[in-house]
Amino acid sequence: MAGLRILLGATIWAGLALAAPAPARAAQPVPADTAFRFSIQRDAGGLALRWAALPGHYLYRDRFEAVTDAGLAVALTTPPGERKNDPNFGDVEIYRGAVSIAVPAADLPPRGALRLTYQGCAENGFCYAPVTKKIDLRTLAVTEE
């Protein structure tokens, strides 16, 4: 057989990603929300998304995604990161400590929600499941997906 072909729709991948755990309760690695503290503010230009990674933890530059309620991708302009030969993803750019991403108001719908996904790992090799936050664009209330 030339090759085993299984169609992997984005739906299944997205579904599995959504089924990944909400940070919080348990196991011994610190919860994702503690490892990668997230905050959001509205400013004159739009939204300021901020993360603060605990020492020994980092976020992947190419793992940030934002999608509107309508399923439209919102382009995120991420700052250059630190290059790292990562045990999970090879040669990548990462963020340690604080990182901020500005989303211009013009790129956002006037109402509805933004689903923001990001992922990070710990220096000890433990890799967190993707985290998805739902942000109400009117109130900026953040809920777990």
């Binding site: 085993l4 299984i6 990944a20 000890n124 433990f126």
Partner: protein, 199 residues
Amino acid sequence: MNRRTVLTALAGAPVVFSACEALARTPLPVDPQAPVGGNPKGDVTIVAFFDYNCGYCKKAAPDLDRIVAQDGRIRLIYLDWPILTKASVYGALVALAAKRQGKYEAVYRALIALPGGRVSEDQMRAALATSGADLDRLQRDADAHRTEIVAQIKRNAALAQKLGLQGTPTYVIGSGVASTLDYEGFKAAVAQARARGGR
């Protein structure tokens, strides 16, 4: 989840093994469809949550194999939890399809041995050829049982969520939870599980 944490310094690096009291009261509900390795009648169970593109899962795999083989009384349950890449989902699908012909562990070993964290579907397909699995049957089983296999993977993710697991690798050993273990770490965790009554 109420836990007490035992800190043990092993092999020069601290290993954290968290004893989960909820699991001590009620054993982990094991999916009857989950692949089982080691000694199915063993007195201690290791439930491995892993991803085929998880670097530390790959690093720990030989140590996990070694402790299971040397101990002889460990039941090993594989719970595919693809959280890293789309190819990880592909790996889980083909491995679970291979279970239909009794080749899950052969495919697991072929895939988990692939170096790097960005192993593609093509690289996984090439590795399948070395696994000893009947690839024609694997294709048929993957096509015929795709819905059930995807549902099984989602059950694994749901169990991880229920337990509050954060990512991979995660090993539930008896009533404890651990992540980045080496051989000595596995050995200590199994001993602790036995000291608490096993299973």
